[in-house]
């Protein structure tokens, strides 16, 4: 397993490397970088000067090395619209996205686990069926549709919540719910199934046979073992959640990195887009790695295998 963790870590590093290279060469595919990096309508002489100053007349490989160097020194150039360092733009936006993530993750886990548990214990009756139908609809509803329906109800009809922006914690509530919905549905489904698997095991019958009260049987023996597959699904969901944050932020005009990346793609602001893609890939890859390590820490069998 330690071996596997090492392989995962290497894989993560390789993935990041491929993303960094792909992003650079993809933007170079679309034509001469000078056309989009320099403001339109400047005279030829200035243009030539700036091209050589920015190193755009150098061979592609040199440009790539320069770009790599910039990545490590934190100099990723200026955004084409905001005309200030890309890093500064992202530094301003990142806290909003992380806040949104924290809210959504808390919501999905805090609601998903109890609901999954309830669905497993109420298997076969209407309550359990209701939870599972809710989970299915949550899974099938596209997040922008859910977002629009929620805006319509809570902002325009009930006037409870603001429809867009990211000024106060209240602004994050609706985006967090929309972001959490599919993950919540997955957690409910998986924790229910995991728990049902565990509930059929012999050691639970043993626990009951030796006279343990039911809350200890479920709380101590079943939940711990059911937690393992749920952690795995958390890891798989992180990539999906980061993908969705792009859409959710642009619906709610949350000033985060997802919103920024969408507008940079629409406006072909390549320096901003490049760094955004790399940053998001970094977030995804590191969070799945964290889950891998958490998994190894949770599952006692893994420790046995390692020693």
């Amino acid at each position: 397993m330690l071996d596997q963790l090492a392989r995962r870590t290497l894989g993560a590093i390789a993935t990041l490397g491929v993303v960094i290279a792909a992003v650079f060469f993809a933007t170079r595919l679309s034509g001469n970088a000078a056309d989009y990096l320099l403001p339109p309508g400047i005279d030829m002489q200035t243009k030539q000067l700036m091209i050589s100053q920015m190193g755009l007349d150098q061979p592609l490989l040199n440009q790539f090395l320069h770009y790599l160097q910039g990545l490590f020194t934190g100099d990723m150039g200026n955004g084409l619209y905001e005309r200030r360092p890309v890093i500064a733009i992202y530094a301003e936006r990142l806290p909003n996205t992380l806040t949104l993530f924290a809210y959504a993750l808390t919501l999905a886990v805090a609601l998903g686990l109890p609901l999954g548990l309830a669905a497993a214990l109420n298997r076969g009756n209407a309550f359990g069926a209701a939870i599972m139908s809710l989970a299915f609809v949550g899974y099938a509803t596209p997040n922008f549709v859910l977002a629009i329906i929620m805006i319509l109800i809570f902002s325009f009809n009930l006037h409870w919540l603001p429809s867009s922006g990211s000024m106060t914690p209240i602004h994050f509530l609706m985006p967090a719910i929309v972001l959490a919905a599919p993950m919540l549905a997955e957690i409910i489904r998986f924790s229910r199934n995991a728990l049902l698997d565990v509930l059929g095991q012999d050691y639970l019958r043993t626990a009951r046979a030796k006279g343990l009260p039911e809350h200890l049987v479920v709380g101590k023996h079943a939940l711990r073992n059911a937690a393992i597959p749920v952690v795995t699904i958390l890891g798989l969901q992180v990539a999906g959640m980061v993908g969705r944050v792009v859409i959710v932020e642009s619906v709610f005009a949350t000033k985060g990195i997802g919103d920024l990346v969408v507008y940079s793609a629409i406006g072909r602001d390549y320096p901003v887009l490049q760094f955004g893609v790399i940053l998001i890939a970094l977030i995804v890859v590191t969070s799945s790695l964290i889950v891998d390590y958490a998994y190894a820490a949770l599952d006692p069998r893994v420790k046995v295998a390692a020693s």
């Binding site: 792909a22 993809a26 596209p142 922008f144 549709v145 629009i148 990539a239 969408v262 940079s264």
Partner: protein, 301 residues
């Protein structure tokens, strides 16, 4: 040697015999709800295919005198426009039908691209193995690690947004799922006695692949297809919603929701009609995928 060849003559793959009854078998494993859903989905497909003839109006024709009419049943509705009109006086029903057709067409062509690409690469990785197979699986792992939205954003930013780019982008979503499943299936099937027998009998690779391996991995491919199809519909809708899909005035359901967003407070139906259509279709496809997986008894992963 000839005797051996005869002795180990590969048994016909079982799916050949069962093929005419396959649909019947599947139908018999469907409950009433699933059957109703299947009929309804067939209806959706027919309606979408015939959009051009069914739609009461030209989807792009603007009537400025009949702007922002609500659907029938709400105050101020005009019965000519069953689902109301948008901010330019275009008939919502006609636009939704055409949008539905385009959405389904993009998802269909896109899913075919990812099916062919993923299956081919999966077969290469599983059958030929070697370093090339390793490279394919490494790319699969990388794509699995990166949210699809990001890949789509980069592709569309670089190549511009047009229908062909959108279709290819959608085709890039999901191939990795086919590649993984197909590779695993091919690895499993290649170890089956009948494949070993075919190899021993001296059958060429092409024949082994087409006659012995493909029929045996067809069911998982179909299941992956139905299970990714709704994801593709959602991917297309999300991109169109963000304004990265087809160019106006042509609309898919997603771009209609995106444009209707600006009129949400005053005329919510402009966004809600296509939004409900997306949700309805994706729910249907998901249910069909679930049923097929259970009916064909396929366990993925």
């Amino acid at each position: 040697m000839t005797e051996l060849t005869v002795a180990f003559a590969p048994p016909r793959a079982s799916t050949h015999k069962g093929k005419p009854n396959l649909f019947k078998t599947l139908w018999s494993r469907a409950n009433l709800f699933t059957r109703a859903n299947l009929c309804l989905f067939a209806l959706v497909l027919i309606v979408a295919a015939l959009a051009q003839w069914i739609a009461p109006f030209d989807p792009d024709a603007q009537k400025l005198l009949a702007r922002l009419k609500p659907p029938v049943g709400f105050g101020g509705a005009n019965p000519t426009y069953l689902l109301g009109t948008d901010q330019l006086g275009r008939d919502m029903l006609s636009r939704s039908l055409h949008g539905l057709r385009l959405t389904l067409a993009i998802a269909l062509i896109g899913s075919m691209i990812s099916l062919v690409l993923g299956t081919t690469l999966g077969i290469i990785a599983g059958y030929a193995r070697g370093w090339f197979g390793g490279v394919i699986m490494a790319v699969v792992d990388i794509q699995l690690a990166i949210p699809f939205t990001l890949i789509a954003l980069v592709v569309i930013a670089v190549f511009g947004n047009s229908l062909p780019v959108l279709i290819v982008t959608i085709g890039l979503a999901g191939w990795e799922v086919y590649a993984r499943v197909v590779r695993a299936q091919v690895l499993a099937v290649s170890r089956m006695p009948f494949v070993e027998a075919a190899v021993a009998a001296g059958a060429p690779h092409g024949r082994i692949l087409v006659k012995h391996i493909l029929p045996n991995i067809a069911s998982p491919i179909i299941v992956v297809w139905t299970m990714t199809f709704s994801a593709l519909i959602l991917a297309e809708s999300s991109l169109s919603f963000l304004g990265l899909g087809v160019q106006p005035p042509t609309a898919t359901l997603g771009s209609m929701v995106g444009l209707g967003r600006d009129y949400l407070a005053s005329s919510p139906w402009i966004a809600l009609v296509p939004a409900c259509a997306i949700m309805f279709v994706s729910l249907q496809v998901l249910l069909i995928g679930d049923w097929l997986r259970d009916a064909l008894d396929i366990r993925l992963k």
